[in-house]
Amino acid sequence: MRIEISRSGGFAGMTRTWSLEVSPAEAEERWLPLADRAAEAPRGEEARLERDQRDRYVYHIVIGYQEVTLPESRLDEPWKELIERARRGSTG
């Protein structure tokens, strides 16, 4: 299954896109459940911290029919691993 990652914003305001192929099993076990959980907006203190951030990146990740938009401050380790894999494998 193809995963497309688009990174916009940042100080430069430049959009970069990377993609990678994962097996359907990996997508269903690791990335689709993560995308479901990531769709929930943060609350309280976390939301306030996120609101005051400027010039951070915004990631838009498309996994099959599932799409998720994540501010950089909400990227935890599994997402970072996925983005790193896509960046290593892409030329764009």
């Binding site: 914003g9 940042g10 100080f11 305001g13 959009t15 970069r16 005051d52 951030q53 400027r54 951070r56």
Partner: protein, 350 residues
């Protein structure tokens, strides 16, 4: 007291000029002009004094500049370890010393020219973290501090290499404590534009450059040699800062006809900022001289005057800057005319 001060036969800008004359042969005229200005409007009197003296009367008092530079040591942790506090000597680490000097240059513009004590006008210490993350290719404001990456070495080098990056980030702090424009769509693009405007003004003030001498570029020197481009943004010619085979072209518009509707980048905050950026540039170009003195003063007045709300768009911002120019320099002034024409040229006003 004159009942209609702005109908005075001598235009306020000429009075201001006369009032600022420091020549004994014209002492009487200068004194009369100063008296006339005082009768005109307290703000106009202020202006004459601002022109006559290097430091305006509202210069900030209270807590002096206090900088704190921390080192994240290549990890994504904040704040990191404090490595240079206020008054400490240079460390020899380029990013640390550039951040320290850049915060000083930014504070100098706001404090010495606009009379604001730090970003909150209450002497808040200025905090920055350098060496954030591994090959981290960004610089950002996290609500409390500036954070600088070392760059990936491929597209971006060290972000502290450009003073305008440091001053841009610190101005996000100023905006947080003034208009607090939300970071989305047009208010977000205004938030970005204020950071670019005061970002370049800090550099111009630091280098004592006039409108004609300045580059009007944001982030010059941040790209590596492999990228075809001189900077990230240009206020003089939005859309021309870079044109690279891999990265593509600078997407900034200069006028409302080319306004970009997009969901990415928080609704194009770094893209459509080209429009208010160019309006500022046109105002400064019209007035000439040092951009921070008149164009910058008008934008500063607008930002702290209370007329801009967190959700304000371009049109309201244009009205507030025109009102700020009128209030300080008068309806018949070239400053007011410069601002009015600039917003019309970028098609925000008719």
């Amino acid at each position: 007291m004159h009942p209609h001060p702005h109908c005075s036969i001598v235009p306020p800008h000429l009075l201001a000029h006369l009032a600022a004359v420091d020549d004994p042969r014209h002492a009487v005229a200068a004194r009369a002009a100063r008296r006339a200005l005082v009768q005109l409007d307290p703000l106009l009197a202020d202006r004459a004094e601002a022109f006559a003296a290097p430091v305006p009367p509202r210069t900030a008092v209270g807590r002096p500049l206090e900088r704190r530079i921390s080192d994240a040591g290549g990890q994504e942790i904040l704040p990191g370890t404090l490595i240079r506090g206020e008054g400490d000597g240079a460390t020899g680490d380029e990013a640390t010393d550039e951040a320290y000097d850049g915060l000083g240059a930014t504070d100098a513009l706001f404090r010495e020219v606009y009379g604001r004590a730090s970003i909150d006008d209450a002497g808040l210490p200025l905090a920055a973290t350098v060496h954030y993350g591994q090959q981290y290719d960004n610089a950002f404001w996290d609500g409390e501090r500036m954070v600088f990456g070392d760059g990936d070495g491929d597209v971006f080098g060290r972000f502290t290499r450009s003073l305008t990056v440091i001053s841009h980030e610190l101005t996000h702090g100023f905006t947080q404590y003034s208009t607090n424009l939300v970071y989305e769509g047009q208010p977000g693009a205004l938030n970005e534009s204020l950071s670019d405007v005061f970002g370049v003004l800090v550099e111009q003030h630091h280098l004592r450059q006039t409108v004609d001498q300045a580059s009007w570029l944001v982030g010059e020197g941040v790209f590596t040699d492999q990228v075809q481009g001189q900077a990230l943004r240009s206020l003089a010619a939005p859309g021309t800062a870079y044109d690279d085979d891999v990265l593509g072209r600078d997407p900034q518009p200069a006028t409302m006809s080319d306004f970009v509707i997009t969901a990415s980048d928080n609704g194009g905050v770094h893209i459509n900022s080209g429009i208010p950026n160019h309006a500022f540039y046109l105002t400064a170009l019209h007035l000439g001289g040092y951009a921070w003195e008149r164009a910058g003063r008008i934008w500063f007045d607008a930002a702290v005057g209370g007329g801009i709300q967190a959700n304000s768009g371009f049109r309201l911002f244009a009205d507030v800057t025109q009102e700020a120019a009128r209030a300080r320099f008068g309806q018949d002034s070239e400053e007011y005319e410069a601002v009015r024409q600039a917003w019309a040229k970028v098609e925000v006003t008719g």
